[in-house]
Symmetry: D4
Subunit: 169 residues, 8 copies
């Protein structure tokens, strides 16, 4: 795993090491935009003090956005959001027989007061979590705005390329 | 609300005062068995320190069972269970457009390591939370065993009475 | 409706005027933090050009965050996100027999590439959309950080007050 | 892929090249009825201008029916329907952990004003999209009426054949 | 109920007279476009011969499109589609405790071979059924194309009007 | 496939030959009770006349119970029940991305007037369909009552045997 | 409540007196066919011995069919079916926040070995339970066959009457 | 399978030997805490007398807690809870096409009067059932309190170890 030398501005948190196969999409996307990040493993239930301590200190350490992947009764994003004023992005992970519907509802249905910016279940959501972080950071960083603009152009161009390949035109 | 003079052994926790219309069933049932209880209002998200502090100290204060009612992305029971070795009973509350399905999944789908004894959504679950607490306490208290036995006889007798009323027999 | 005199930095968009009973929560919360906002009514389906034109120009007009409320097959947030590099926050609205589950899935299950920061269904989500916007804006605005800090303290204090009222203690 | 030499009257649109494994059923069925068609790849989110431009010009190019396959938060059919007066047929694709329920609701729950003729999730729906297009085109084309009539007879006959094979009668 | 003097080209079918409160939206919308229609009450289960006889003869009577509203295990649209080569549009009706999810799945999940163009649950779907019929009929009728074009312009204009009213601008 | 020489009293109907992998459980169970049966393949949608003709004549042919397996928008059991006064038992089959939930709701949610005795989704339901048929036939046949009694004893005995094997006791 | 003087052949069982508002439909329909029935109130959970004793003796008392209405985790029909060789018909009742989906799944998803003939949730299902019982009893009773035949004719005729009323024709 | 020599205090019950692949997690966890247990196989439906007899005598045999795993229309935990005053813990098992949602609802939605402490679907729930039993037993057993405390420390430590491994730090 590549690790950025700059001080991280995004923290990518997950509740279990098995979640990394999904959250790797977040890491890859942040990396491709050159956003410095860190990875942090903690559980809302198995290591609650570690979790609240991490969340409570993140802002002071210079972290600006926290991305959290969790499955099952996914409390991790909500618990972290309760301990920090930073924007928290939640990625529900398909980790049980209910195929991520449990994680989705446990992440998105936050009561009024503590928001979690919820993404789609699984890899698409993990990737989009990074892209939302980039959109937020780009509000202040011109260089990211340019990269985002290129990214959007590339996506549109990629659709055209795939169209040509599919239709042999 | 009647308040027992004895030191409470059950703590009835809820995330919002509006949950009391449901959790009142717990209170009534504990009261009818003479189990001393306390009521505690705290939110996993709006008052996280209050929640972890409460949960961390409950056992030392003599509390033996914690009953937790919460709606929406109901993290409260799980978060409390993470901070205490006591048995935690969760009551999902129907508080959103999804009719308590969100609260049920967020309460019951706990990952391995931290159990929450989940009850039915709403008033039936709130009542049963008290009855489960009584079953647990009755393991050591003969007097509760007798009351539980009478309670079961009364339920069966009540079915017969209602049968007679319904069929005019 | 109060309207801020400052140039708006948040745009509160909705697909139907009937959605305002929900999105009013967003407006109230932004107002209480003193965040200048505008309200914009447009439909992904009934006024598609108006929608794409609005979204395409929002950043240049100085808008920094777009909050979108929509019900049913809620495409509005996703369509707007496709036309802007700004962070887009989606609020699913309970507007059909399926009680907002349709709007939730249509908002949150975005494919990789275009993120929508999805909130809870209905009023809780509408309020949290504003609070997420505040968290994002507070990354650069010290004054908002202070207000957010007070807001969190007030929430925790409010829990204590309600506890006292509920328990007559 | 066979390509008809006649000017296409049906456009088969999909949001991703991976959707072709499903939408191939549409293509095969149109082909078997001799309906001239084209294939078009575009994304509601990754290439929004390409999508609206395509939809806005389809009628003038002689396209009479647009069939759209899409998965996840499937906005593509609705967005295309918003930009064309032509009948639009939507095929929800099972592309996420939610097994196409997200795509189904995002396609079918269109608000009043812009209809999308929604088919079943997956291959059965893709095939039926072609058959619905044939039913519509057959309103004016006698030759298609005959083919449709034969097709229905063949289906009924096929059931009898399979019955005989299954029962060895 | 207004009844068109011209020979009907659309048949609006429903399984129960109580469905008319929903299907009235279809009737109103057809009426506003001047499309001649008829209303037909029949049940897939309670009057099966009436249903198959109706469906089998509809095309010969000059009917071009059949719109079917039904609730619960909504078989009516599928059964009619099995007996006619005409395009059949299904409107799932919220008539049971499951809020129309049963009717939606029973209408949309048709196996390959017999398509039903499924609309949203309830009134939005009933209105859109008429609009889809208009889109199909407009393929051959210039006058309907114009009306459809005006209808779309009116919808977009209506959004602007509502925007002004909502924002007092 | 064994075929009984006696005139069949149960008809095992299915909508597709691929359903036989499930409906084989019905056949096996009927066979083990010595109940004479027939197998009939027909589709509510692809061969509607064959279906109604079969259903309309079943009673006169001496059939006493009809068991119907079908997947997707499973209309077959309901349609058959509409054409016969015989008891109809429906087996929902898991044949789509929705894992049989569509077939279950389309089979069980019959409107008042035409009952379908619905079984569990898949093989357990297919087996139970035969057992329900046996329970019904046993009302008049002493020999079946005895077999049913033995069957229940065997099931209970089998549980004990498996217990011993599992616990090595 | 009318009570038949003849020895009952159908037993209408329910788990709670509040279920009678639904199960009254069963009673009315049995009554209209002149089928002698009894009503029995018992709970799988609150009066388990009463339940198993009732079920174990029903056949010997001359009962031929048992109809069971129950809500929530509806175990009553399954438990009764486990104690009798008679056909058992289950009616899921909408008694919780989950609108009868819990009762439906708890009634219909019986494992192989013990069938419950499951009806629709609520009043439609309660009515159909009686009609299924009539279909079963009619296998041996000519008089019921005639009544059933008239009932079907009346239903079809009633559709025509309602059609005329709705269309003023 | 190791078998404890001490008299069992927990009974691990399951409805089918195939459930053991899930319930093995309960056994392992009880074993690791040194809690003496027994395994008992019985079915609510196939061996109802065995089930009620077992449940009725468990308390007198010295059993203190009953853990029950069951799938499909999972009645076993509820039926056992109806015959014993002991705390009953239910583990829903994913054994059908509905992926354990049926078993979850059939276990958790118990009506007021008879509680079942419901765990997550599958292996996580099976493990947590043991841990809840340990929490209950630890109320009286100091030695278990210590083990539980170590277990929680180990879980938290394990999170740190996995963090280090994942981040190579």
């Amino acid at each position: 795993m590549k690790k950025s030398k700059q001080a991280p501005v995004v923290s990518v948190v997950m509740g279990s090491d098995s979640d990394f196969t999904v959250m790797e999409e977040t890491v890859k996307a942040l990396d491709s935009f050159g956003v410095p990040f860190e990875i942090f493993l903690t559980s809302a239930h198995r290591s609650p003090e570690r979790t609240s301590s991490f969340a409570g200190k993140a802002a002071a350490r210079g972290i600006r956005i926290i991305i959290v992947g969790a499955g099952a009764a996914a409390h991790l994003a909500g618990v972290i959001a309760a301990h920090t004023p930073l924007p928290v992005i939640g990625v529900p992970i398909d980790a049980t027989a209910l195929r991520g519907l449990d994680a989705l509802l446990a992440t998105v249905q936050m009561p009024g007061g503590i928001p979690v910016a919820t993404m789609a279940i699984g890899k698409a959501g993990a990737k989009n979590a990074a892209l939302l972080a980039v959109r937020i950071l780009a509000l202040e960083e011109k260089s990211l705005q340019k990269k985002l603009s290129s990214y959007h152009e590339d996506m549109a161009y990629d659709v055209e390329k795939k169209h040509k390949k599919l239709t042999n035109s």
